[in-house]
Amino acid sequence: MGIGAPDPIIDLKDVRFGYAERPILDGLNLTVPKGQILAVMGGSGSGKTSLLGLLGGRNKAWSGQVRVDGQDVGHLNRSQLYALRQRLGMLFQFGALFTDLTVFENVAFPYREQTDLPEAIIRDLVLMKLEAVGLRGAAPLMPSELSGGMARRVALARAIALDPMLMMYDEPFTGLDPISVGIIGRLIQRLNATFGMTSLIVTHDLNETLRIADRVVVISEGKVYRDMTPQDVRKSDDLFIRQFADGLPDGPVPFHYPAPPYAQQLIADHVSSS
């Protein structure tokens, strides 16, 4: 590493983690430099969401190092962790807006809780953030009155409130109509560039992701399986990548859940019932 090269924003070394006895992440290595938009893809249960939990300090790795902006997340005490989290932003899958507050109050929440800014300034900041996501007019609405896409945009406005250095997106495109998908995608791109952030997107949606990401990392069996640019993903010959990219029902990820031979089971049923 050169003297002038800055520390990577994310640095994962040999990370092992799981919820039960079997590890989900088994020797994961990943480095993310500042300013990059990274897409993390993989099958269901491959550990993509656990990865976000590790970075945010909600999960503690069994072994290995999880470094965010140079700090070892697994060994921070509570106040240090909270100080770090104030510089992170997370967009949850369905927005996770506070249902008893209005849109305005949701976005104002981080300002009111973490800063001592006067209400007048908070008001301006909230309106600015809402304007950035195109929902300034929705400020007085309640979350229950918003569509899925709008709710997620409000959650995005809330997540960028304190100008985080790292934004984490948990399946931001899932369940949205194509227009909303396009809107969110462009917002991620624009915010990353405008605010000099680093963005990490956990997603299934290949099309939009390939359009906006700088780099794609595919996780399989607890490790980084492939680390490539979006163009390489499109051109790849790898069976797993192709199954993923083209949406093929069968391939390295099998269609059939493990079961005894078909004919044998059918005959056995007849034999036992006669």
Partner: protein
């Protein structure tokens, strides 16, 4: 034989689970209690929760208290007048309410109405990742969401118990004096002679405080640890009501023996 072994194994596993849950409850309660200071500093949050848990329960508490008092008067009179002691009705009603029925029934009603709502609310917030979002914004959800709801139960419970008992006494007065015709003066003077402020009223208030702490902790615990599904939230809500009710009754027994045993 294998059935018996299976049964014992199942029983053992069940006891294990119960103990593990009890340990989790203890740890969680400790976490909640340790952030109470912050919660009191954010007084506005607490006031809001007292409104939703306490003030909104006023109707059911007052009406129930009134009816319980009236029933006590009817039943009590029926029995007392056989021994010619109908004037003691005031004492009977007041002591029953202040010592036992006020704290206990108010706690049971509170558990059913307010605590179940708190459990459902917290469970839903957890299921929709609102608590996780708050945590990621570096704001402790225990201090901001959980603790105020717990403190609201602790503060509301004694107030509701007192209101229940008062409503009950008034109800008994309406039936006993106005309707049945017991002497007004005897009703109140007998009552005042037998209800001691320190022994009865203060002990009753202390009981309701303990109930408030128990019910408050149970309701936030169940909500916080509910499975993030519709079924999970629903069963957590049921568990709150059942566990709270049983706890109130068991604590009532222990507290009654401890507080009133020395009287004779």
């Amino acid at each position: 034989m294998s059935h018996l072994l299976n049964l014992i194994e199942a029983l053992g596993a069940h006891v294990n689970r119960l103990l593990a849950r009890l340990g989790l409850f203890a740890r969680f309660s400790w976490s909640v209690l340790s952030v109470i200071g912050i919660c009191i500093a954010r007084f506005t949050l607490l006031v809001r929760e007292i409104y939703f848990s306490g003030v909104r329960s006023l109707a059911i508490i007052t009406v129930s208290g009134l009816f319980v008092g009236m029933v006590l008067a009817v039943q009590g009179y029926e029995v007392l007048q056989r021994f010619g002691s109908a004037e003691s009705l005031g004492s009977l009603v007041a002591l029953s309410l202040v010592r036992e029925l006020g704290p206990v029934v108010a706690a049971l009603l509170f558990a059913g109405r307010a605590s179940s709502a708190v459990t459902a609310e917290i469970g839903l917030m957890r299921a929709t990742e609102q608590l996780a979002a708050m945590d990621m914004m570096a704001i402790n959800p225990l201090a901001r969401i959980i603790a105020p709801r717990f403190m609201a139960a602790v503060v509301s419970m004694p107030i509701l118990a007192v209101i229940f008992s008062s409503a009950g006494v008034i109800g008994a007065y309406l039936i006993g004096v106005q309707l049945i015709g017991i002497d007004d003066g005897a009703f109140w003077s007998q009552m005042q002679a037998s209800v001691d402020f320190r022994i009865d009223v203060l002990n009753g208030l202390f009981k309701s405080l303990i109930f408030g702490i128990a019910v408050g902790l149970i309701s936030v615990f169940e909500g916080y640890h509910a499975a993030p599904t519709a079924e999970g939230v629903s069963s957590a809500t049921t568990r709150t009501v059942v566990t709270s009710s049983l706890s109130v009754l068991m604590l009532d027994f222990v507290l009654t023996v401890w507080m009133f045993r020395g009287l004779n």
